[in-house]
């Protein structure tokens, strides 16, 4: 665990840590609260979407400074990592810890916002829905971004992914507003699907990027 944490931190530059560990979470959180205060309306709906938009955008975009298209055909990993016995373990640890950090930050931020929006009484299923959906969506987009080596490509992907993420959030919100008798079952189903997808995307993204990085050892670039 210590090696995993150290590996992840070694991959992060000071600027990245400052931005993603401190400034973006604080900014997104404070901005969303201020937005809710200004509107004086349902924070949990639009505020949460704003929070997630900023978050998803920052996560996908900032990966350029973390793994910078590590799985792209141009980069294909680092030769330095391949010259050490621990290189691949370090890479894997970095990828996994990045997902853990993302999940923890998203969950904590969403929880606080939902609590704030509902006067201290969180709707736990809604909390789960939003966290799982945005974690899965953002992790998927970050996964794709690691195959892009150009800054422009990542910028385009980031803009589309954040926008589509918000669209997904709107759909979730609309479903949650439903009063029909079967809505609870639908929401439970959504949570199960997203939980499954979250696990699937997390595992597959690490395995796929690792396969690609290890592919640098061989001719076939996977």
């Amino acid at each position: 665990m210590r090696f995993a944490a150290k590996s992840y931190l070694a991959f992060t530059s000071f600027r990245y840590r400052l931005l993603m560990f401190l400034l973006v979470p604080t900014g997104a959180f404070a901005g969303t609260l201020a937005y809710g205060e200004l509107l004086g309306s349902s924070l949990q709906q639009s505020g949460l979407l704003l929070f997630m938009f900023v978050w998803s955008y920052a996560e996908t975009f900032s990966d350029y400074w973390l793994f910078s298209g590590i799985a792209s055909a141009k980069t294909h990993g680092s030769e330095m990592l391949r010259t050490s016995e621990r290189g691949m373990a370090m890479m894997r640890s970095g990828l996994i810890m990045d997902q853990v950090r993302r999940l923890v930050y998203m969950a904590a931020g969403t929880a606080v916002l939902i609590i704030a929006g509902q006067n201290g009484v969180p709707d736990f299923p809604e909390f789960l829905e939003f966290v799982l959906f945005y974690y899965t969506w953002t992790t998927g987009m970050v996964w794709i971004s690691r195959f892009l080596s150009s800054y422009t490509g990542i910028r385009i992907l980031t803009a589309y992914s954040a926008g589509m993420g918000v669209a997904g959030g709107v759909i979730l919100t609309v479903i949650n507003m439903g009063q029909e008798p079967g809505i609870a079952a639908i929401r439970a189903g959504i949570i199960c699907v997203f939980a499954l997808l979250a696990v699937l995307v997390s595992v597959c993204s690490v395995l796929h990027v690792m396969k690609r990085v290890k592919g640098g050892y061989y001719d076939s670039k996977n």
Binding site: F3, K6, S7, L9, A10, F11, T12, S13, F14, R15, Y64, W65, S68, I70, T75, H76, G77, S78, E79, M80, L81, R82, T83, S84, E85, R86, G87, M90, G216, Y217, Y218, D219
Partner: protein, 300 residues
């Protein structure tokens, strides 16, 4: 002379679409600096990548230090003893110097931070006195990047350095420094440390080269201690009237309006008797070019 080898390779084969590396036997002597020479596309980088372990798809057997086989090549014990620098993506372009230091510490037990700083300062990796920790790899010139890689490998206790084209991006002064670094590294090892480097800058690196391997079209065309090669090949200079006769005997020949100059195998010297020629000791550059000419597809 009984020789030990830091690497012995047998039957190394690697196929690409239009290229085939085929090395039946390769011995790199322990305690010496060995130069790998060859024209572009001769297979030098492929061979170095195989020996370093950053390319794993090949046929053949490898033996390191007489102790480890290619089955052990991914073991930490072996990798800790080998330092590598190369022209590819050794460091990721967005890594900062601070990150490189931290990553090196995590990857290699024998990496010493203080020594890394010392080497950065000694090689003048940064323009000022201080290390620019926030500087990114992509902001460095090719030469500075090479100096940084050298600082990184020399900050570790290794027994073998595998350097792919270390001299190419360096200025003449730094090439001279590189030669003295290689010499010091070998002297410091008391016969236990070796350096294997590829180069196009044969003249610049000649004074540090003990053993040379000349590759052409995926094969080893010539190999041996430089002193032995200088006995095997001789530099011949002659008059214009002997060009035709000498051309049939010499290994390689260059003509001019005034005469000719070429490399002759020592055991064919007798055949030059009767010609008005002078005999000199060739440089490694001249031997290498002659061997490469003989085997190259370039029409000279």
């Amino acid at each position: 002379m009984e020789l030990d080898f830091c690497i012995r390779a047998e039957g190394i084969k690697k196929k690409f679409k239009n290229f085939r590396l085929d090395i039946p036997q390769l011995d790199i002597p322990k305690g010496y600096a060995t130069a790998l020479i060859g024209e572009n596309g001769a297979g030098k980088t492929t061979l170095l990548n195989i020996l370093t372990g950053i390319r794993l798809d090949y046929e053949g057997k490898l033996d390191y230090f007489g102790t480890y086989t290619d089955k052990d090549r991914e073991s930490g014990k072996l990798k800790e003893q080998i330092g590598y620098t190369g022209p590819g993506n050794y460091y990721l372009p967005h890594w900062t110097i601070r990150q490189i230091e931290k990553i090196s510490e995590l990857l290699f037990d024998n990496f010493q931070k203080e020594r890394f700083k010392q080497w950065c300062s000694e090689l003048a990796v940064f323009s000022g006195e201080e290390i620019e920790w926030k500087k990114k790899v992509r902001e460095l010139s090719d030469g500075t990047r090479m100096k940084l890689m050298l600082a990184g490998v020399l900050a570790r206790d290794t027994k073998l350095l595998l350097l792919d084209e270390p001299a190419s991006p360096l200025d003449p002064l730094m090439r001279d420094k590189l030669c003295s670094m290689i010499r010091d590294y070998i002297l410091d090892g008391n016969g236990e440390k070796s350096v294997f480097f590829s180069t196009h800058n044969i003249s610049d690196m000649e004074n540090v080269t003990d053993y040379a391997i000349i590759m052409e079209r995926g094969k080893i065309a010539e190999a041996g201690f430089v002193e032995d090669l200088k006995e095997k090949y001789l530099l011949i200079k002659g008059e214009r009237e002997d060009i035709e006769a000498a051309g049939k005997i010499l290994y390689s020949i260059t003509t001019s309006p005034y005469g000719f100059e070429g490399i002759c195998l020592a055991d064919r010297m007798e055949q030059l008797s009767g010609m008005n020629v002078s005999v000199e000791v060739p440089s490694l550059f001249q031997i290498s070019v002659a061997v490469m000419k003989e085997n190259s597809r370039i029409q000279m």
